[in-house]
Symmetry: C2
Subunit: 221 residues, 2 copies
DNA sequence: TGCAATATTGCACACTGTGCAACAATAGGA
DNA sequence: TCCTATTGTTGCACAGTGTGCAATATTGCA
C-alpha cells in the first residue's frame, strides 16, 4: 500500500502503473460515493456499508482507503507546506500575520483543485455542521504544527524570547490560534458568499485585515 | 429524568428529595469511575462496560446519565450565562474583549467549584489530547451562541451595521472566534503553569491583553 | 397501604473500526 | 510467455459505542 504521490515526489513525473491508477480510481470512487450518498439521501443513510455498496467495493476495503467515515466525507485536514517554504517563513521578517496567510494560501490553492468535490463538501458541512467531529483531531494536529513553526520564527527573530520557552510557546500558540481563527472565519464567510463574488483567498485577506480593527479597544468606529 | 438543577433555577433552593440526591450521587459515581479508570489504567481500558462496573451500575444506565463516553470523562461544554447577564452584556459599552472575558469568568467560576474533578480532567486532557473529539460539538454550539450574542451587542451599538446582516454576522463571528481562542490559550497556559502561580482567570486576562500586542503589524518589540 | 411517576436493567440491534488470513491481481524479470 | 514476489481485496470474527423498548424496581405522595 504505497503512496502513489511518491512517484512524483522526487521531481520525476513517473507514469503511474496500472496499480497506482486503479488505486486512485478506487479512492475517488469511494470519495464520490460518500459525497453522493450524503447529498442524495442525507447523513443518516450514509453508512459505511452503503457507501461501499455504491462505490462497488467491500466495506472492508473502505477502511483500507479512509481511516474513518468522516474522513471520506469531509476530507483530510490541512497540512503545512514543505520544508523549504517553512524555512523561508522562519527567516522572513515581514509582518507575521500576512506571512502566515500567505503560507495558508500555498496550502489551500492545490486543495482547491477539484471544484466538484470542494463544492459538494462545502454544501455538506453547511447542511451538517456536526460532521466536523472527527475533524478535531486533524485541526488539533495542525494547531500543534503551526505553533511549532511560529515558535521557530519567533525564536529566530528574538533570541531573548527564545531563552524563555514558556513565554515563547505561549506567544506562538496565541498567534497560531488567531490565524487559524481567521482561516475558519474566512472559510465561513466564503460559504455565506452567495454569488461567490470573492474567492476564498480574498476572504482570507479580508479576515486578516479585519483582525486589528476588531481588536481596537474602542471598537469599530 | 428531570434536571435536578431546575429545583434551584427559579431562585428557591428546594431541598431535593431522595430521588434527586440519589440521581446526583449516581451521576457523580459514574463520573468519578470514568476519571479513575482513565487515570489508573489508561484511556484504552476505559470502556463503558468497565466504567459502569466500577461505578456499580449497568452499562445501559451509563447512557442514561451521559450521552457519550467522552462526556463522562471530559465534562460538558461551556454554557453562556443567564438572560440577565446576557442583556447587560448587550447594553454594556465598555471595550468588548474584556467584557467577553468577564462573561467567561462568570461561566467558569462555578465550573471550577469541584477542584478534585477539575484537576483530574486537566491531567487527562493533557495526557490524552485526542479525547477532545466529542468536545467539538459543544465548542461549535458555544461558538454559535456567542456569535449570536455578540451580534446582538454590535447591532445595538451600531444601527448601520445592523442593517447589513452579512457584515454583522461576519464581524460578530470573528470576535467570537478570537475570544474563544483567547480562552483556549489561557486554558493551555494554565495547564502548563507548573506551580499554578496564577489562576485560570488571571491567565485569561493575560491572554486578552496579549492579543493587540501580538497583532501589531511590526510584531512584538 | 396502594397508585402514579420515574429509574434501572437486560436484551436486541445497527453501526464503526481493526486484525487476520485466504484469495486475486499486478509488476517485472527469466 | 510464464513464474514469483509484492500488493490489493475480501470475508470473517471480534470489540466497542450508542439506541429503542419493555420488564422490573424504586420513590413520591395521597
Amino acid at each position: 500500500m504505497s503512496d502513489p504521490d511518491l512517484a512524483i515526489a522526487d521531481g520525476f513525473a513517473i507514469e503511474p502503473g496500472l496499480r497506482e491508477r486503479k488505486r486512485l480510481a478506487t479512492r475517488r470512487a469511494i470519495l464520490m460515493a460518500a459525497i453522493t450518498v450524503v447529498r442524495e439521501r442525507g447523513l443518516e443513510a450514509a453508512t459505511v456499508d452503503e457507501i461501499a455498496r455504491i462505490a462497488d467495493v467491500s466495506p472492508r476495503t473502505f477502511f483500507n482507503y479512509f481511516s474513518s467515515k468522516e474522513e471520506a466525507i469531509v476530507g483530510d485536514g490541512p497540512e503545512l507546506p514543505g520544508e523549504e517554504a517553512q524555512e523561508a517563513f522562519v527567516r522572513d521578517r515581514s509582518p507575521i500575520l500576512p506571512a502566515i496567510a500567505a503560507l495558508f494560501a500555498t496550502v489551500i490553492t492545490p486543495a482547491l483543485h477539484d471544484q466538484e468535490i470542494i463544492l459538494a463538501r462545502r454544501a455538506i458541512t453547511k447542511e451538517y455542521p456536526e460532521i466536523g467531529g472527527r475533524r478535531w483531531a486533524s485541526i488539533h494536529r495542525f494547531e500543534g504544527q503551526l505553533t511549532e513553526l511560529v515558535a521557530r520564527r519567533l525564536a529566530d527573530e528574538d533570541p531573548a524570547l527564545a531563552a524563555d520557552p514558556r513565554a515563547l510557546t505561549s506567544r506562538a500558540r496565541l498567534i497560531a490560534f488567531i490565524t487559524i481563527s481567521a482561516m475558519r472565519h474566512a472559510w465561513l464567510d466564503w460559504m455565506d458568499d452567495p454569488g461567490e463574488r470573492r474567492g476564498l483567498l480574498e476572504h482570507l485577506d479580508d479576515s486578516i485585515r479585519m483582525l486589528p480593527e476588531v481588536l481596537r479597544p474602542s471598537g469599530p468606529r
